[in-house]
Amino acid sequence: MTPFSWEHFLAMGGYAAYVWPAFAVFFLVLAADYVSPNLRRRRNLRELRTRMARQTARQQRNPSSP
């Protein structure tokens, strides 16, 4: 077995133009999939906090209304 060399590794036996884009797609798509619910969760909680703040402000103005 030949010793490891980066050039040899990155060349992928001449198929670098096919192998590396395939791995890039794999990582990028899964990273986007993983992050998207985090962003959605944070946005939802922020909206909920604004709604709650509005509610308490309204209650302080006229305490009789729900």
Partner: protein
């Protein structure tokens, strides 16, 4: 039969409990997925020898095949969860079914793109309308159909019911994808990894493939739980437990 198992399941399926449970499990599942994925990639890209026919281009197999397996596995799981949600009206099953669809679509999309990148140097074409490729494309469209139907109703739960029906009907495509290489003459190669009988692949190439398969399973758990958490918060946003979480995260 011990009584605590159904009780435990019942407790866990309540939204605040599952939200907490998923929050604990998610980082561990992701860590395992990353660790196993790194080991699999090292084995597949560095340790495994080049293929005698395909040279180094075959290394795309280490993501292409696990992603294809996940596309089918997630579809089956989504259909089962959809069935449970329609029959027993369990909210958590509905959320699991609907949030599995985008993950399955992502894996199927990766399968199609990496397959195309593999097909170009080996077959001389990016795409061909053969049975395996076409049925895999139909799988992607079924996922997109479920996602689209779910979001096209004003009432979220009504959308989930309609999408659950589509998910169940679409299960017919799963065996078609799996057996397409046996039923029709296709350009796509047949199965090399077998559960029954010896696999037609060398051990140097098999273990990274199977390790990556396990890694993608853990990734699915991590991704699904993150999505379910976000969904549960949105669904129950009027309830006290969600308000508490909103306040806690607002202060920090």
């Amino acid at each position: 039969m011990a009584n605590w198992i159904p009780l435990w399941v019942h407790k866990l399926s309540s939204p605040p409990n599952f939200y907490r449970f998923a929050g604990v499990v998610r980082p561990w599942a992701l860590a395992l997925a990353l660790l196993l994925g790194a080991i699999a990639l090292y084995g597949g890209l560095v340790l495994a020898p080049a293929d005698y026919q395909q040279g180094d281009a075959y290394r795309i197999i280490f993501i292409h095949v696990p992603c294809a397996w996940m596309g089918l596995f997630i579809y089956g799981l989504m259909a089962v969860a959809a069935f449970i949600s329609l029959v027993w009206r369990i909210k958590l099953a509905e959320v699991v079914a609907m949030e599995s669809a985008p993950i399955g679509a992502a894996f199927t999309f990766i399968t199609l793109v990496t397959g195309s990148l593999w097909g170009k140097p080996m077959w001389g074409t990016w795409w061909t309308w053969d049975a395996r490729l076409t049925s895999e494309l139909v799988l992607l469209f079924l996922y997109l159909g479920v996602i689209g139907l779910y979001h096209s109703f004003e009432d979220r739960r009504q959308g989930a019911r309609a999408a659950a029906f589509l998910a169940i009907i679409g299960i017919i495509n799963v065996p078609i994808v799996h057996f397409s290489v046996n039923w029709w003459n296709t350009l796509h190669q047949g199965s090399t990894v077998r559960i029954l009988g010896p696999s037609k692949i060398s051990g140097d190439m098999l273990w990274p493939l199977l390790t990556m398969m396990v890694a993608t399973k853990f990734y699915y758990i991590a991704s699904l739980f993150g999505r379910v958490r976000a969904d549960l918060l949105a669904m129950e946003s009027g309830k006290d437990w969600v308000r508490q979480i909103a306040q806690q995260e607002g202060q920090s």
